[in-house]
Amino acid sequence: MVASVAIASYAQACEICRKAYFDAMETAPKASALHPEARVVEYRLTIAEQTLSPADRKVQALTINGGTPGPVLRLREGDVARITVVNGLADDSTSIHWHGLLVPNIEDGVPVVTTPVIGPGQSRTFEFLVRQHGTYWYHSHTGHQEQRGVYGAIVIEPKTETKAAEHDEVVILSDWTDEDPRDVQRSLLRGSDWYSFRKGTSQSLLGAYQAGKLGEYLDREKALVPPMDLSDVAYDAFLMNGRRRRELPGKPGETVRVRLINAGAASYFYLDAATGPLRIVAADGQDVKPFDQKRLLIGPAETYDVLVTVPAQGAWELRSTAQDGSGSVSAWVGSGERHEATPPPAPDRYGMAAYLTSILDQIDPEPGAKEQERPISPYAKMRAAQPHPVASSHRELTLKLTGDMIRYEWSFDGLDPREAEAIKVKEGETIRVRLVNNTMMHHPIHFHGHFFRLVDANDKDPATSPLKHTVDVPPMSVRTIEFTANEGQGDWLIHCHLLYHHITGMVRTIRVTSAEGAEPPHAAATHSMATTYAWGQAAFTSASATGYATVQSGHDNLYVRWQEGMRHGDGHERELSYARYIDMRLSLIAGYRFDTTDGGRDGPFAGVSYRLPYFVDLGLTHQAGGETRFSLFKNLQITDRLSLDLYYQYGRLTHAYTSADLRYLLSKDLSITAGYSSDFGAGAGILIRF
């Protein structure tokens, strides 16, 4: 707590230096002054809140110029783009980041870190020289705004026209939830089973038994490895260009360049075309030597350009299936009789070992290996169309992708970004970053303002290694990227582009200093979007009223817990406590307990909570007055809906207490509960989550 306060006041003091820095950058000559010969292309993007129904139900969404996605920004290499972002929101700031574009640091659009915040009613004009061509996108970098609709496509034509297709179509994929994304974040933090239940991906003892995977299930529980999770959120709809269906016009025989952009906040998609393998000609905006891919996995924030030839007759499906199999959205090429694409096989929810094996076999393929039915990204096939320079020497860093799925806390190297130092790189220096994914999820890692090359130790021609701005790192694997810090001094973010991961802390600042190591006076901001969340649950049964409520910020939690008997003469126990999260096993706890049950007393207490194998939580506390307690808690997921909470406690003065409660999941907020406790007897009732 003391440390947090100290950091906060230091950061506040720094704001003055930051403002001075921003002021200096804002008054420096902009692209149009530096490149007076260039054509200036202007856009105006107004962000506002309005009622839309992307998944049929009317909900509040965020729009750009009245719709979502926003307009396609069409530019040509060599232009100066001048884009004014107007914040039409009543009470929230906003921002726009130009994803994949090489822009001066102050135009990168990350609020506080690189660019001044655009407050309600304010606007800011971004100006930059367009130094590249290809398919890119833009999105808000503030809170959950990207999930609520603040995104759009950028299409940049090359300086000299190269005609690979008769015309091009932007297909921008996204995921939509009718819930307020802040509630989604809260549900993920609290550890709700609801999303996996809704998607049919929950894991249970009975399910594992029926799938013949009980042994693997128990091994996993023993090792404290959470169930494999291909996606965290249950979405109400998957969209193409903001709609649930799309027609791609084209005359028979015509070749269409489909510019695929994954603007999903938390979804990977598999692309399948009924017309046959996808002809990939560009990835992340960069031209690649054309290659065919039967089924394409596209990670959040990645873009691919694929060529599709319109068949002589019929409507042919271009299907985008969420990686977790929870839904899909399709575009139809041509018109007439329908030809459906083959969807990917459903994931095996208990097949974690098989999935890891499949990833290992693809990252490091055996000779002659065929494309798998559920492939990972096709990076191994990708070669840059034109050779690029390769640095002769580099400095190597390792960034570990870490997380605690149970607490829903994601990070680099296990550090809270607010407590982690920026990675310092000198201008001109070449850095190789090993991204080591120690988690059971895919993470799309995006580095701002630069292209990096994907490093493969066995690559015979590094000059044509693929250049990307976002790389998928599959579970339990390593990707190595290399970049040269030649896009200007300043703070550039590297983060997971799963929005809910980024928000909990999977983000770091890379500060590019001068070649001599000189840096601006203000501390690098971390762009941690973590805010404070609160939740709780209360069970009311014929025997007792029990529950808890908590407020969480970073690694700190404040708890209120209560337990009251319904019968006359039953005692109660109430606790107010503070818990500090140390790691996925250990938490420290201190507080004050009011206890009128047999042997109980009022007084301060302190102790630890430790997670044992099989996700059994061990508690040890000592209370003033001589009460020392030992407790064990285990939640058994019996079926997708039914779970059993088992609790045992022994106190030196209060002696043994046991309880067993069955919970039957009805909805996100409600369960039926029935159980027995040694203090309050048997009872049945409801459990409400709030």
Binding site: G215, E216, R220, K222, A223, L224, V225, G351, A353, A354, L356, T357, L360, D361, D364, E366, K400, R434, V436, N437, N438, T439, M440, M476, S477, V478
Partner: protein, 222 residues
């Protein structure tokens, strides 16, 4: 009823024929499973059958799948006439000191090799290995033991240690995936040609087996 009697008669006839054929076959000369090299009887009653006139004994039914997939590979382990093998020498000339079976079935129907790797008591084992006293760790039987399989483990430990102590594993990361060893809970460890190997998870064991030389390069100069 008639039909039932016929079936029983035919079955009886078939088994008599089988026994007769088996008894005419060349006797099995080893005291260990031809697939896993595990001492027969440790996993329960051995599986006995005749393959092209040669009696074969396996430690368990799981090994039958491996044998059927490539009989020639395993038949090569049989000594040539008159050369009885020494019982304390593994029939297998080199390779994984962890080949075993009869544990959890892997998805592909083959053996779940990872299930055989010692875990659980890994820290104790590592300590022993670093001071060079855990000779049993380099023995096939010891590596095959599940931590809770006391009978099995003890049997292995009582075997006289002939091999040199295994070299300790020098990395903190999985030899296959390069991930942190503890990133998936308990790590798996085994001995390959006198070198202790650690991997982050079971699928990495199978991956290692396919091309050990490739991954062993990571240990060069360590």
């Amino acid at each position: 009823m008639k039909n039932t009697m016929l079936v029983i008669l035919l079955a009886a006839l078939a088994s008599i024929t089988a026994v007769a054929v088996e008894s005419a076959a060349k006797p099995y000369p080893l005291d260990k499973c031809i697939v896993s090299d595990e001492k027969l009887g440790v996993e329960g009653k051995p599986v006995v059958f005749v393959h092209e006139g040669q009696e074969i004994k396996l430690c368990c039914q799981d090994c039958r799948k491996d044998f059927d997939a490539n009989p020639a590979k395993y038949l090569a382990k049989l000594p040539k006439a008159g050369n009885a093998p020494k019982s304390d020498e593994p029939a297998k000339p080199k390779g994984m000191a962890m080949k075993s079976c009869c544990m959890a079935d892997a998805k592909d129907g083959g053996h779940d090799h990872a299930a055989m790797v010692a875990k659980g008591d890994d820290k104790a084992k590592e300590a022993k290995q670093t001071d060079g006293h855990d000779h049993a760790a380099a023995k096939p039987g010891a590596e095959a033991a599940k931590p809770h399989d006391h009978e099995h483990a003890d049997a292995a430990k009582t075997e006289p240690a002939k091999d040199a102590p295994a070299k300790p594993y020098p990395l903190k990361t999985c030899i296959v995936s390069d991930n942190d060893l503890d990133s998936m809970g308990e790590q798996a460890s085994f001995v390959y040609q006198g070198q202790t190997i650690k991997v982050c998870c079971k699928p990495c064991v199978a991956k290692f087996e396919k091309n050990p030389a490739k991954y062993l390069k990571k240990l060069e100069g360590k």
